[in-house]
């Protein structure tokens, strides 16, 4: 199923890597939006509907956890699954992210196979 994704990371290189990993994982991306922090991502979502959000945690301006907390107030983000992709992979971080509303958690470094393992079930559950 073709999807529209939003990738949120303060590293432009990492945003490109995540997009490439999604494509290598066989995810059919019709459109990819990018944002460098949570505030930029909220602005993107006010104007655009997406099917999947991939989000870093440690970012300036607004971090990933605060961004996820604010999603319920965004019409275009309702029922959109969020998967965190971050170097922070401690149990506390995972629990915190999931309790904020994230549906999955991928720790960097990752392989396209790991991305697929996490994303495909999330997208399947959404549809």
């Amino acid at each position: 199923m073709p999807i529209r994704a939003l990738i949120v990371d303060d590293s432009s290189v990492m945003r490109k890597i995540v997009e490439r990993a999604l494509r290598q994982a066989g995810i059919d991306l019709t459109e990819v939006f990018q944002a460098a922090n949570g505030a930029e991502a909220l602005a993107v979502l006010k104007e655009n509907r997406v099917d999947l959000i991939l989000c870093d945690i440690n970012m300036p301006v607004m971090d990933g956890l605060e961004f996820v907390k604010q999603l319920p107030g965004i019409e275009n983000a309702k029922n959109v699954p969020v998967v965190m992709i971050t170097t922070e992979g401690s149990e506390a971080h995972v629990v915190q992210a999931l309790s904020c509303g994230a549906r999955g958690y991928i720790r960097k470094p990752f392989t396209p196979e790991q991305v697929k393992e996490h994303i495909v079930p999330v997208l399947a559950a959404k549809s």
């Binding site: 303060d10 590293s11 432009s12 290189v13 990492m14 490109k16 890597i17 490439r20 440690n58 300036p60 170097t87 922070e88 992979g89 401690s90 149990e91 506390a92 720790r107 960097k108 470094p109 990752f110 392989t111």
Partner: protein, 161 residues
């Protein structure tokens, strides 16, 4: 991912962390850049003019750094983005910062006490070689020297506490 993770906190000697730094780096380069790091047979004299640093705070305070040549940094960027070397532009600094960030993050997850109690700062990248880092502590840096595509790479952890 191959891992020696969940290492008990009993691994308390900082010297014991050197192999973990090496494994952390090898895993990042294998998974994100698709290449194997090698151990240099001799000490290389190449100028390492790109330094990426990530600060650690919490259970461990210090600075994690990755040093390499500009050529190596460009090659890393090329590998990470899947583009030709001559297509690499200013994103080199971003890429080398992410490499350091991932190696530091991967390293701390191999030590149970650090995984939960240590935070990483955003990366800082310094270019040029005419500088010297002065630590305000007397603890020596843990250092690992490796080769990335035949180019020297020095990964170090300066511990402050």
């Amino acid at each position: 991912m191959k891992s020696v993770s969940e290492l008990p906190a009993g691994c308390s000697s900082h010297e014991d962390w050197i192999p973990l730094i090496e494994v952390a780096a090898r895993e990042v380069f294998e998974l994100m850049l698709g290449c194997q790091l090698a151990v240099p047979a001799t000490a290389e004299q190449t100028i390492l003019d790109v330094t990426s640093m990530v600060g650690l705070a919490g259970q461990l305070s210090g600075v994690f750094s990755v040093r390499c040549s500009g050529k190596a940094a460009a090659l890393m960027t090329s590998r990470m983005l899947g583009v030709k070397l001559d297509e690499v532009g200013p994103e080199v600094l971003d890429a080398i910062g992410e490499v350091c960030n991932m190696v530091a993050g991967n390293f701390k997850h191999k030590i149970a006490v650090l995984a939960e109690g240590c935070m990483l700062s955003p990366p800082t990248v310094v270019t040029g070689s005419a500088y010297k880092l002065h630590s305000l502590t007397d603890s020596p840096a843990l250092e690992v020297r490796l080769l990335f595509e035949g180019l020297p790479l020095v990964i170090s952890l300066q511990i402050h506490s």
